[in-house]
C-alpha cells in the first residue's frame, strides 16, 4: 500500500534544468520530440559508459529550436543567430575531449549559418549538427526559410514562395562528411537509435529532423490542427535506401526522403590535424 505520494521523477529529469520548465514551445510543436529522442540517446550512451555526459556540450543559435540549450542540463552556449557551428568548432579546438552538439533551426543552420555548415561538413569537422526543420522562421513569426516549400505562403511571401527550395540533407551529403541522415519527429524511436549511432562518431555528422510547427507554419498552410500536420509529415517522410544522393527528394507534396544516407569513418579534421601537426602535449584520443 502506498502511504505517501511520491514525487514522480521523469527518467530524463537528470538531463533537464527542470526548474526552467515549462518550456516555451507551443502545443503541436515537434522540437520537444526531437530533443527527447536526443536526450534518451545521450542517457543511454552515458549509462553504457560510451560517453561521459559531462563532456557533452550544447551549442545553439537563435530561434525556437535554439532555446533548447536553456532547458538541458549540460554545458551550453546559446550563441548568435547562425553561429552555433563556429562556436562549437572553437570549443572543440579548445578542448578536443568535448562532445559538441549543435541543435538549432533550419533558418539558423541553413540560411544565415549556411556558410559555416558548408565548411564544417567539407572539413569533416568533429561535431554533431542536429537541424530541426519546421520549414519556417518560427520564433520571428513565420517568414520565409530556405526550406519553405515552393508555392507555400509565408509572412514575407504572402502570395506564395517563388523560390526553389533547399534540400539541406542532399546538400550536406554532397560534401561527403562522415554521417548524414534525415528523419522526422513522426519516427521518434528511429531518431533515438540514429542519434545514438551518430553521437560517439568522429568527424562531421548531420541529422536533419523534419518537424511540426502548427502555430506558425500550420497557420499559413492550412494545418492548424497538430494532428493534420503530423499526419501529413508522416505520410510524406518516407524512409528509403538510396544508391545515389540524386534520389533524395524534398517535395512537400509527395516525398521527403528519409534515411541514413552516409555512415562512414573517414579520418576527421582533428584526426588529420593531430597526425600532421602533432600539437605538443595534446591528444585526440577516443571520445
Amino acid at each position: 500500500m502506498v502511504e505517501t505520494q511520491e514525487v514522480i521523477k521523469y527518467p530524463l529529469d537528470d538531463y533537464l534544468r527542470t526548474e526552467r520548465l515549462p518550456h516555451i514551445w507551443c502545443p503541436g510543436c515537434g522540437i520537444g520530440m526531437a530533443l527527447q529522442a536526443l536526450l534518451w540517446s545521450i542517457k543511454e550512451l552515458h549509462e553504457q559508459g560510451v560517453i561521459d555526459r559531462k563532456k557533452v556540450c550544447f551549442f545553439t543559435g537563435i530561434g525556437c529550436t535554439a532555446r533548447a540549450s536553456g532547458f538541458v542540463k549540460f554545458d551550453a552556449i546559446h550563441a548568435l543567430h547562425g553561429r552555433a557551428i563556429p562556436v562549437a568548432t572553437g570549443a572543440k579546438l579548445g578542448n578536443p575531449s568535448l562532445i559538441p552538439i549543435v541543435f538549432s533551426g533550419d533558418g539558423d543552420i541553413a540560411a544565415i549559418g549556411g556558410n559555416h555548415l558548408l565548411h564544417a561538413a567539407r572539413r569533416n569537422f568533429d561535431i554533431l549538427v542536429v537541424m530541426i526543420n519546421n520549414m519556417t522562421y518560427a520564433l520571428t513569426g513565420g517568414q520565409l526559410a530556405p526550406t519553405t516549400p515552393t508555392g507555400v505562403r509565408s509572412t514575407t511571401t504572402p502570395r506564395g514562395n517563388p523560390e526553389n527550395v533547399m534540400d539541406t540533407t542532399k546538400f550536406v551529403a554532397s560534401l561527403r562528411p562522415n554521417f548524414v541522415a534525415r528523419y522526422s519527429v513522426t519516427q521518434p524511436t528511429i531518431l533515438r537509435t540514429v542519434f545514438k549511432k551518430a553521437l560517439p562518431k568522429r568527424g562531421f555528422r548531420f541529422i536533419e529532423v523534419m518537424s511540426t510547427c502548427t502555430e506558425i507554419f500550420g497557420r499559413h498552410t492550412g494545418f492548424r490542427d497538430p494532428y493534420e500536420l503530423y499526419s501529413r509529415l508522416k505520410k510524406i517522410c518516407k524512409i528509403k535506401k538510396i544508391s545515389s544522393i540524386d534520389e533524395i527528394k524534398y517535395d512537400w507534396e509527395n516525398e521527403i526522403t528519409c534515411g541514413t544516407f552516409i555512415d562512414k569513418d573517414d579520418p576527421s579534421f582533428l584526426d588529420m590535424y593531430f597526425k600532421m601537426y602533432k600539437p605538443r602535449g595534446m591528444v585526440y584520443g577516443e571520445s
Partner: protein, 384 residues
Amino acid sequence: MRVEFISGNEASAEGAMTAGLKVYVGYPITPSSDLFEYLSEKLPERGGIVFQGEDEIASINALVGAALAGAKAMTATSGPGLSLMAEGIGLACMVEAPLVIVDVMRAGPSTGIATHVGQGDIMQSRWLSHGPYNLVAFAPFSAQEAFDYTVKAFNVAVRLRLPVILLSDATIAHTRERVVIKESGEIEVEDFKRPTVPPEKYRFYDPDPRDLVPPMAFLGEGYYIHAESLSHDERGYYDTRPSVYRRLVERLVKKVERNKKSIVASKSYYTDDAEILFVAFGSVARSTLALVRDLREQGIKAGLFRPISIWPLDDEKLIEASKRAKKVVVVELNQGQLVEVIEDALWHHQRYDVEVLSLPMILSETPSPDEILDEINSKGWKLW
C-alpha cells in the same frame, strides 16, 4: 629571455605564445596575414592549434567557443575583417569570453588600400557592436610594445573576462626591430580566474564583488554552465525583467571602469614644461616624437603624450602631461577620431583652458616629421 630582430606582427605572435595561446583562428587579410602564417609554423610545437575559418565571423565566434572551453584564444585581422566581427564582439562581451583580437589597421574605408597604413579604427574598436558594453584596446608603437601589450592584452582579457583589442597598424606590423622576448615567469602571465565553490554552488555569472568579474568554469568540467547571449541572471538564465537587465549590463560596462588602474597605459615625453602638447599613438607617434625633438632643439617647449591604452584612456596621465600646456595638438591618420577622446577627457577634468587642435591626416602612409610640420604650417596656427 632572448633577443630577436622581428616585425610587430611576429612580436605579437610571440607575445601570444608567451601568454599561453592555445587556439588561433583566423582568416587571411593584409596586413595581418603574416602573423597568422608565423603562428601556423610555430604554435603547434608550443602546444596549440591554428585553424583557418571560412570568414571572420567564424573566427570570432570560434574564439568564444575556445575561450569558454578554457583555451587562451586569439585572432588577427584588419578593418574589413573587424567590421565582420561586430556582432561576435558583442557576444564575447555578453557571455564574458576572454579573448584577444589583433587589428592591424590599414587604409580605409571599405577595402581601401590593403598594403597601406591607417588609424581609422579608433571608434570602431570601441563602438563596433550594438548596445551598451565595454572592452579594452591597447595600441603599441614598436615591435617591443607589440610583444609586451599582446601579453598584457591576454592578462586583461582573462582577468576581466572580456575581449581585448590590440590596435596595431601596418607600419608597426611590418617594421623589423630588436625585441626582447620573455617567457612566462620572466614576464607576468595571468591565468583564468577559476571557481572557488563546488559545481552545485557555482553560477557562471556570479561576480566577485571586488572586481565585478565572475570566476570562470570551463565547458566539460561538470559545472553545467549556461553561457547566454540573451539578457540573463547570474545563472545565465534568460530574463527580460528590466532590473535583471540593468544589473547585468551595468556590470559589463562598469567592470572596465572598476579595474581601470590596472589596465591603463601611456607614455609622456618632455611634458614637464611643455606648452604645446602633441598627442599621437601607434606609428604616427614615432614621427611626432621626432618632430617634438626637432622643436625642442629650436627651443620650443613641445611635448608628447602617447596613449597606449586607447580604451580606456589614461586620462590622469594626460591631465598631468598637459598641466602647463596651452595648446594640445592631436595628430592621427584619419578624419579626426582620437581628438574626440582627448577633448572629452580634458573637458571631463575641467581643462577648458587648453585649446585642442585637431590634425587629422588622410594619408595612407605614416607621415614623416616634416610632413606633420608642413600640415601644421598649412593650417596657419600660431603655435610658436
